[in-house]
């Protein structure tokens, strides 16, 4: 950015805020276009697109929960275990013959309580960092899930229980073919993301979550009950993991011990790719969605091209580093020296 052209420079500066907001979407669009050219027959087919959404459905819930935690400059390593424990509880309650409406609510309550446990631990026990509390509960929740289930899969749920993860919305009334249905999980993602977008951007609590991430001392000096907000955030994160469990129950028709193994790292990766800052206070719901989509499309596209899953790991790792580096460069241009 030498003094080549003043106008060009100021135009560039004007574009920065938009780039900051929507740059990640641009990356997503570029990926979609590239994948389309690499796999013109398959990638944008109805079947494949709905497939991508089905695959990312439960991850998107974990990522959204972890995102809110990251905005407070915290971290939640236990979301995968919360989901597994909630799934196991759902499976046990379902096998015990409870009516479907009870079965459907149990993972949500279980997830919420796990998150509440995290939040209270972090605030009441005054843990030096949420990393430690949630690292502990990562083991505690998964261990508990295995204890109550005996470490064996529990399979077979009713259609009502499986609806959110497995249901299809028929679109033949629109003149589409039978195979061109809308997955219920896609609609669920949209609804949940819109609700949380409103929560984070339009409500006072959402604003306080950003304020705590920006400067916890300022939040405290402003009379905000920081601990209370943190407990709410971790509880909501657990609740979203519970929704993830419900979706996964529908998709796999089974509660199994390895559910959500390492998915906390996927969730964190999606947030980071989506532009959330580990230092807190920064990131958008739209960005997290883009981050989840980018990871989903990358995995899907590489599968379509028959690339080994080992290369997928290498590529996803590279994208994380690259995304954050682009972010570093952007801030160099954007901040006042």
């Amino acid at each position: 950015m030498d003094s080549k052209d003043q106008d060009k420079n100021s135009l560039y500066l004007k574009l920065i805020p938009y780039f900051e907001k929507y740059g990640i979407l641009l990356l997503l669009v570029i990926m979609i276009v590239v994948m389309h050219f690499l796999q013109p027959d398959v990638f944008l087919s109805w079947r494949n697109v709905t497939n991508v959404f089905k695959q990312i459905s439960w991850q998107s819930m974990l990522a959204l929960g972890v995102f809110m935690v990251i905005v407070t400059a915290g971290i939640d390593l236990s979301v995968g275990s919360i989901m597994m424990l909630s799934l196991m509880i759902l499976a046990i309650v379902a096998k015990a013959g409870a009516p479907w409406y009870i079965v459907v609510i149990t993972p949500l309550i279980a997830g919420f309580l796990c998150g509440l446990f995290n939040g209270l631990g972090i605030t009441l026990l005054r843990m030096p960092h949420p990393f430690i509390m949630t690292l502990g509960t990562l083991y505690i929740f998964r261990g508990t899930g295995n204890l109550i289930s005996g470490g064996t899969p529990i399979s077979g749920f009713t259609d009502e229980v499986r609806y959110l993860g497995h249901g299809r919305i028929d679109l033949t009334w629109l003149g589409l073919e039978k195979s061109q249905y809308l997955p219920v999980s896609l609609v669920l993602i949209a609804i949940v993301y819109i609700i949380f977008w409103i929560f984070m951007n339009k409500t006072r609590t959402g604003k306080w979550i950003y304020a705590i991430g920006g400067n916890p001392n300022a939040a405290r000096a402003s009379g905000i009950n920081v601990n209370k907000i943190l407990v709410i955030v971790y509880s909501l994160c657990g609740f979203l993991s519970g929704i993830g469990a419900l979706i996964l129950a529908g998709r796999t028709d089974s509660g199994y011990p390895n559910a959500g193994l390492q998915s906390e790292l996927d969730a964190i990766a999606a947030c980071i790719i989506g532009g959330a800052s580990f230092f807190g206070g920064r990131g958008t719901v739209l960005g997290v969605f883009a981050g989840v989509m980018i990871m989903g499309i990358l995995r899907n596209g590489l599968n379509l091209m028959d690339v080994s899953s080992f290369w997928q790991q290498v590529l996803i790792g590279s994208i994380i580093v690259l995304a954050v580096y682009v972010d570093v460069l952007r801030r160099d241009f954007g901040t006042r020296k």
């Binding site: 409500t203 006072r204 609590t205 000096a221 402003s222 009379g223 901040t335 006042r336």
Partner: protein
């Protein structure tokens, strides 16, 4: 001009012990409407402790606080804020990731309530912010600018704006110019003079004689936790005040 105005806040014989340490002993302080009081003293003289007592962060071990003639017991900073006593902290206590307006109203945002949910009234925040910044003659590009994009002086101005957004009667400022570039100091001092004109009582804690002599009407020195000296500014000199800080009369 100060003596003609209403007495806002008075501390009477305030004493504060921390264990066996006496941080303040029988300290008296008065601040009137439209007046600026400078509080000087060496490190450990008790300035910060006194300010924390005034802002409700510490409860005095003995002595009393009187606001507009009535004795008040402050249990928390919220209590002092409700009386119209605001503090501008040295570390500014702003959230850099939020815009100016949202910082000014942080914790006290205007909202529209829908059941349990409180939705922020962004339009009102913007209007109130612009009106308030205009009243204080603080120039920023836009109320939507993030605080981290501002210079040190602009941040200090936002912190002061924040302290006066809710009809503050007394504003206590801890080293308001300490972190500023020289060219920005003047702007902040102008702001303090502006506050005085609107009838706010300002207490400035500062090491900088330039600041004290630019804005204050009265100066008091603390030395080892006691009132050491006090004077109208017109009756003293820099050298004398510097002597007080070092415990010489």
């Amino acid at each position: 001009m100060s003596s003609a105005n209403q007495l806002l806040l008075e501390a009477k014989n305030v004493t504060k012990y921390f264990g066996t340490i006496t941080a303040l002993e029988n300290v008296n302080l008065k601040i009137h409407a439209g007046e600026c009081l400078g509080v000087v003293g060496d490190n450990g003289a008790g300035k910060t402790t006194l300010m924390k007592v005034l802002s409700g962060l510490y409860k005095p071990s003995a002595g009393s606080l009187h606001f507009e003639g009535k004795e008040k017991v402050l249990e928390s900073p919220r209590d002092s804020q409700n009386l119209g006593l605001e503090m501008v902290y040295q570390d500014l206590a702003l959230a850099g990731n939020l815009p100016i307006g949202e910082n000014i109203f942080l914790g006290r945002e205007p909202t529209t309530n829908l059941g349990l949910l409180k939705f922020l009234d962004y339009k009102k925040i913007k209007e109130l912010t612009e009106a308030h910044l205009g009243k204080l003659k603080i120039n920023v590009k836009s109320a939507d600018q993030k605080v981290e994009e501002l210079s040190g002086g602009q941040r200090q101005a936002v912190a002061i704006a924040r302290s006066t957004a809710f009809n503050a009667k007394v504003v206590i400022m801890d080293e308001p110019t300490a972190a500023l570039a020289i060219k920005e100091v003047g702007k902040v001092l102008d702001l303090i003079n502006g506050l005085k004109k609107t009838g706010v009582g300002v207490i400035v804690i500062s090491h900088r004689m330039d600041d004290i002599f630019a804005v204050c009407d009265r100066v008091m020195a603390l030395f080892q936790g006691t009132n050491f000296a006090e004077s109208e500014l017109s009756n003293t000199s820099r050298d004398e005040v510097i002597g007080w800080i070092m415990g010489k009369k």
